[in-house]
């Protein structure tokens, strides 16, 4: 079956090794450094491993709290906003994706193209109008405003993704259930939902990740420091006179960890869904 020569195979593994080192080494280096005491972080002769490992950076970040430097609260805010975004996005994307997969009607192509259009939309353009809109409805400085914007950013892609998953479920299954007397919502939750579960999980994870790392809209729409999300909170630490790199590295790790943990198990589905969607588009 495999007619590739050993030389080519080893070239492949060489490329893979270079890519893995290039992707992972900055994080691993920063991770180890987050356990270093300050004098090992700020040195002209840095080492890969910490000499005297310490949890002091994490202690400073998590325990030395002031109203403007309350990282645990920022993490909680991010979690709240991201979860809200994931739920809203899933509701919209399930409806949209299912409708596009099951019904035929004029204008459907246009709708599908619109999703693509969002991809190339310059989001920077939204800053002023969205700011003014939320200020008009007295929604500035609320997490709800962020959830709405993030849902709008994530939902088109998720709809596209779920559309390809729903297409993979034979309509006959639903028709059979209908013959047996099941109603619309029952059919969706009993038959479609379980079969599309990997897709729904993936779409939810995508929305969560989008909201978790977003910076620009949080910067513009939030004012009160107690409402800051984790990326915004961490970024404001770097604006201070004296930058404390130790706690910053620790904070960076605490932001990465949850999304990597929730993403890696889903990566296979994510790639599959993305690839299916991309080829169709």
């Amino acid at each position: 079956m495999n007619i590739r020569r050993p030389v080519e195979l080893s070239m492949d593994y060489l490329v893979v090794a270079i890519v893995l080192v290039g992707v992972l080494s900055p994080f691993v280096y920063a991770a180890f450094s987050s356990f270093k005491p300050l004098k090992e972080i700020m040195t002209v002769r840095p080492a890969f491993f910490p000499h005297q490992p310490t949890l002091k950076n994490y202690q400073t970040l998590l325990l030395a709290r002031t109203p403007i430097r309350n990282f645990p609260l920022f993490l909680y805010n991010s979690f709240k906003v991201s979860l809200g975004t994931a739920l809203f996005t899933l509701a919209l994307a399930c409806l949209g994706g299912y409708g596009l997969a099951r019904y035929r009607y004029p204008g459907k192509e246009l709708l599908a193209r619109m999703m693509l259009f969002i991809y190339v939309f310059p989001t920077i353009l939204l800053l002023i109008p969205v700011y003014k809109m939320f200020s008009h409805f007295n929604l500035l400085d609320t997490h709800f405003a962020l959830i709405i914007v993030y849902t709008a950013l994530a939902a088109p892609f998720c709809t596209w993704l779920l559309n390809s998953f729903f297409r993979g479920i034979p309509a006959e299954l639903e028709e059979a259930a209908m013959v047996d007397g099941a109603k619309g919502l029952t059919i969706f939750f009993r038959i479609v939902f379980p079969l599309a579960a990997p897709g729904i999980l993936t779409a939810g994870a995508y929305a969560f990740i989008t909201a978790w790392g977003e910076y620009m809209f949080a910067l513009v729409l939030l004012m009160t420091s107690a409402r800051r999300t984790a990326p915004l909170g961490l970024a404001t630490f770097t604006a201070e006179q004296y930058i404390e790199w130790g706690p910053l590295l620790a904070g960076s790790w605490l932001i990465i960890l949850p999304i990597v943990v929730c993403f890696l198990p889903l990566a296979k589905h994510f790639i599959k869904g993305f690839v299916a969607g991309a080829v169709k588009g």
Binding site: L9, D12, V16, L20, V23, P26, Y29, A30, I41, A91, L92, A93, L95, G96, G99, Y103, R104, Y105, L111, I118, V120, P122, T123, I124, L125, L126, L127, I128, P129, V130, K132, M133, I148, T151, A152, A155, P156, T159, G213, E214, Y215, M216, V220, P231, L232, L234, A235, T238, L248, L249, G251, S252, I255, I259, V260, A267, K268, I271, V275, V279
Partner: protein, 293 residues
């Protein structure tokens, strides 16, 4: 008939959200660009094309325009070539390939804030590990101020941003490659073709059109980036990394001239739309005539 109406109802909530968050702001940006609105105020006097005149008369706008093009082209070059190579390898059947494919995506999901913070620390001029290791390995002879010197900041940022977004291009190109049946390659190998011939005779002709399309997507995607630049250099030093999105943010929320910021936004939209039109209508490879190198 009833089925048709139900069909429209499903995507309706999403459609409303898109209209409110994307389409309405697009229109109101055009309107704002024609008014002189003091920041925080609801309305201001209609001034016609005055904001555009101010913007076009400013060297800082033209520098931003140029920076944006350099930024987007530099990123495009890195994010199309390197991912193409990586995607070809990832498309092969290797041990543990699923793990590798997943790991490759990590830079993409890591928030820009984290990338910016880690990079600012790793690239510090005197205490930064990158400088230390580059000197130790003899690649450079004296310490470089990667993010703080006029000539180096832009290339450094382009490399950094391409590192973060190379998974995106890789995934898209991988998607394109997976449309090619494996049998084609096997047949070619039986006939004695080498890997380079496989690439020029099979891979490129078959996915060239898709890569063409991906190229535009990657260009626009990068053109619109704000957060990574703002979080590392804030457009400095000396405006050398100030792209138009950074300039828009500055105008609107730092110097409080939303009218002028809106006119820059309109210029971006017109520029990208015109570029897309030329790219797809005039320059696109025809479907029939295969691109053969």
């Amino acid at each position: 008939m009833r089925r048709k109406i139900i069909g429209y109802l499903f995507p309706l909530p999403l459609l409303i959200l898109i209209l409110v968050i994307f389409l309405y702001p697009l229109l109101s940006t055009v309107r704002y660009s024609l008014y002189d609105i003091p920041f925080g105020a609801k309305e201001g006097p209609f001034v016609g094309p005055q904001n555009y005149r101010i913007i076009f008369g400013e060297p800082v706008f033209w520098q931003g325009f140029k920076n944006s093009i350099i930024w987007a082209l530099g990123n495009l070059a890195l994010q199309l070539t390197i991912p193409f190579g990586i995607a070809i390898v990832l498309n092969h059947r290797l041990k543990g390939i699923n793990f590798v494919r997943a790991t490759v995506l990590i830079p993409w999901i890591v928030p820009a804030v984290v990338v910016a913070i880690c990079a600012r620390w790793l690239l510090l001029p005197t205490m930064g590990p990158v400088n230390y290791y580059l000197i130790k390995s003899g690649i450079i002879t004296h310490r470089l101020n990667f993010l703080g010197s006029l000539g180096l900041a832009m290339p450094t940022l382009i490399a950094l941003n391409s590192w973060k977004f190379f998974p995106f291009g890789t995934l898209l190109i991988l998607a394109a490659l997976q449309t090619i049946p494996v049998e084609l390659y096997e047949a070619a190998r039986v006939d004695g073709a080498n890997p380079w011939q496989c690439f020029t005779r099979i891979t490129f002709p078959l996915v060239g059109r898709m890569v063409w399309f991906i190229g535009f997507l990657v260009f626009v995607w990068n053109y619109n980036i704000f957060d990574l630049i703002w979080l590392t250099t804030k457009g400095g030093p000396g405006n050398t990394t100030q792209t138009l999105p950074v300039l828009i943010y500055r105008r609107a929320f730092k110097t409080f001239r939303p009218g002028e910021a809106s006119s820059i936004a309109v210029i971006i939209v017109i520029f990208l739309a015109a570029l897309g039109l030329v790219y797809f209508k005039l320059l696109a490879p025809k479907k029939e005539e295969r691109v053969i190198v």
